[in-house]
Structure formats: C-alpha cells, structure tokens
Amino acid sequence: MSANGAHPQLALELRDVEFAYPDGVPALRGVTLEVRAGEKVALIGANGAGKSTLLMQLNGILRGRGKIRVLGRVLSDATVREIRALVGLLFANPDDQLFSPTVLDDVAFGPLHMGLPKPEVQRRVAEALAQVGMSGFESRLPHHLSMGQKKRIAIATVLAMGTPILALDEPTASLSPGARYELIALLQSLPQTMLVSTHDLGALPGVFGRVVVLDEGRIVADGATEAILADHDLLHAHGLDEAHGLPHA
C-alpha cells in the first residue's frame, strides 16, 4: 500500500459499488473487485446480472455509489476525462459504439479528442485497424459492414486510444465461428489489462486466467477459470449452463 491507500500494481479497484437505473431498478448491489495490472479477467453471469452496468462504471459512463480507482486514481468528476484515457470501453452492440459516417472518422475520434498530433493519430488509426485485420476499410460506412467487421472496427476505436485497460462487453457475441475464433486470438495477443463480459464459456480457458461470476448485481464467485468452469453446481445455480443439455428432436 502506498501513502494514499492505493495499491500501485492494481489496475482496477472497486469498493462497494452500487448502482440503480433511473426507474429504480437496482443493477449493482455492492460490488467489490480488484484487478491487477496485466490480468485478464472474464465477467460471466446471466442476462440482466449487471455485467454491462458494471463495465460502464469503470470509465464513468454510469456513476453510482461506492469508490472506483483506476491505476490508483479515484474516479470523480475531476478525473473522469483522464480515466477515459486509461480505460477503453467496448459497448456490447457495435451499432452503439460506432457513431461516425466512416470507419476512419470513428477510429480517429478518440486520438483526435485527446489532442494528439496528426501524424500520431494516423499512426494509431493504421495500427489499430491492422491489429483487428481491417486495414483498407477506412472509407467504408460502419453501419453497412457485417456484424463481425463492425465488432472489429468497434475494438479498433478503443485500441486507437492506447488505453492500458480494456473493458469489453461481450466481444464475441453474435459472431460466426470463424470470426469468433479470430477475435479470441486477438484478445489472447493483446497485452492490456482486461475485464471482459461474456457468455462464451468455451473461450474462457484460452484467454482468461480468472473468472468473476455476477448474479443480480452481486459477485457470487471469483476464482481461477478451471475451478469455476468445473463447478457445475455454481454455473447451474446462476443460469450459466444448459441444465440437462438441449432436448433432442
């Protein structure tokens, strides 16, 4: 522990984070979680468990009660812009993420907003698009691409910001098997600290060393991936398995 109480090698530190939507529905009921720098953590849980809400707390898009530290800095009104340069957030739906008329505009937005010099912006855009295998798509319309391509562009918009932490909401959802495989390989190759929400249990062992299980806004399990995946009772209790397999025709 350093003098100000922050743990230097912690990338993310959440203390009793609570959040309720304006209609009064509580989405997070006291979440306490630590993620070390360089760690890749998966966040699993049934629909409505609070995964997306939790991820949106990390860079202050949604603000609830409790304390959040990012690389030692406390999230507040004063630090939110600075923290958005530390946590890159990928929204579950790429149509929510991509708001510009062209791929280039969208990927360049983050670096341009940071005020980086033009050559650096161009370098980052080219690098981010290359990382997701989408070089050459700069002038395309994002909303006319396939789901797999949109997902990759959406990830490139976050990578171009150069954030040390990635908060990704269901990056492999609605992808065809091939596109899913490529995305998992990309997540494996990226060095950033990650907190990734997913329903893709099959992708867990290859990418994530640690799994956090969320149910009704609370963390109900947190442990090594193998241990969590082997605990069928736990998965079943929180709606994360197919019970007795799918019915046969």
């Binding site: 898009i61 812009r81 958005r84 991509l98 510009s100 008329p101 940071m114 954030t163």
Partner: protein, 264 residues
Amino acid sequence: MSFAFALGDRYVTRASVVHRADGRVKLALTLGYVLLVSATQRGEWLALVALALPVVALVGVARLPPGVVLRRSALALPFVLAAVPLAFSTPGEALGTLPPFGWTVTREGLSALATILAKSWTSVVLATVLTASTTPTELVHALRGLRVPALLAAVIFFTYRYLFTIGDEGSRLMRSRDSRSAAIAGYRSGGTLRWRASVLGRMVGTLFLRSYERSERVFAAMQARGYDGEPRFLDPPALRRADLAAAVLLLLYAALVQAYARVG
C-alpha cells in the same frame, strides 16, 4: 439516462374518473371546449372565469399534481408573447408610454392581451388534462374514432412509437462519444469547436440514415405479416353514456356562458 426518461411520458398514472373516460369523448370535448373558449370576446372577464372553473375542477377530479399541470401549461407562454404587441397596437385610452421607444400602452390593448392570456392558458390546461389522463395509444385510437384518416393516425402512432427508440439510439451514440472523450497530460483535449461541431453534425446525419434504414426494415417486417398499405385498427369499444353525457353537459355549459356573455 434513457431518452424516454428524460423526455418523460405525458401520461400521469392515476385511477380517476377522467382517466377511465373514453378517449374519443375526451378528445372531442377538448377540441369543442377549446373552440368555445376561443370565441370569448375581449374583456369578458366573468365569462373567462366561468369557462376556466370547470377546467380547474377537472384537474382536481383527475387528481393531477397541480405543479405538473402548471409546469406543462407554461407551453402557452410563447403564444402569449406573440400577442404582446397588441397591448401597444390596439387603439384606445392611453395608459402610458414605454420609455425607450415611445410606444403607447392602451387600456383596450392590455385588456386584449389579458383576454388572450386567459383563453390560451385555459385551453392549454385542458389539453394537459387530456394528455395526462389518456395514454398515447388511446389518443391515436380516439383520432381514428373521430374519423381522422387511418394513414394519418398511423403516422402519428409510429411517430410516438419510434420517438423513444430513435431518441434512445441517439443517446447511446452520445454515450459512446463521451466514453472516448479522453484527456491526457501535456495535450489540449477536445479539439477545436469547429471539429466538435462537425462530429456532432455527422452524428446527427448518421442517426438520420439509420432511422431511415430502420423504417425500411420495419416496413419489410410489416409486409412480412401481411401489411398491404391499409392501416387497420381494432374495433373501438362502444361509447359509454355517462362519458357522453358529461361531455355534452360541459359543452352546453360553455355554450351557455358564451351566449349569456353576448346577450349581457
């Protein structure tokens, strides 16, 4: 925060006689009453008070929060502003002049302005009671019931239905922009005003394109379920006599007030 929440539905949930009354009757009554109120002549103060009383009573019977009704009735203000020149332009007994321009305020002019204020406020409060006690869906059905063309009613219905969808989509785009609006030490963040304005402009364009494409998908989905260009609505329930009687009585009352004001 979702757009729907920020905009706020007009409907105020209450279990009152006014809420239960037939939407068609309420709509017809509102239109008729507003027409009668607007016929009031300048300076007929007694008539204006007599016409406002049932409207205030309706707010009470519908158990609408007075604060909400007052706030929404502020919608009448811009129209009143447009009438302000009347205070100066109406010929009559001079009351004084406005120093910088030397415009003369007349007694007749002030009276005309106050009459317009009273008439528009009464009308807007009544319309507020209608929208706060009738769900938008019921209002569209009421329009159909009053023989508004089906296509026009359908357009109004879809506008309401997708207003929130498109508004929510817009606020999600803004959220994504905010999420990537970061600042790092040593650089001036945020770019120029011109750049930020162009980003916003392109976002609006994107939203328009998407809404346009969404309308094509919605239309295809309607066609897939047999839509042939003729909007159809479920047959409305029969009119209740009590609702009709109440509406007719209120309109008769307003007509009598007007008749007395003209004679007296």
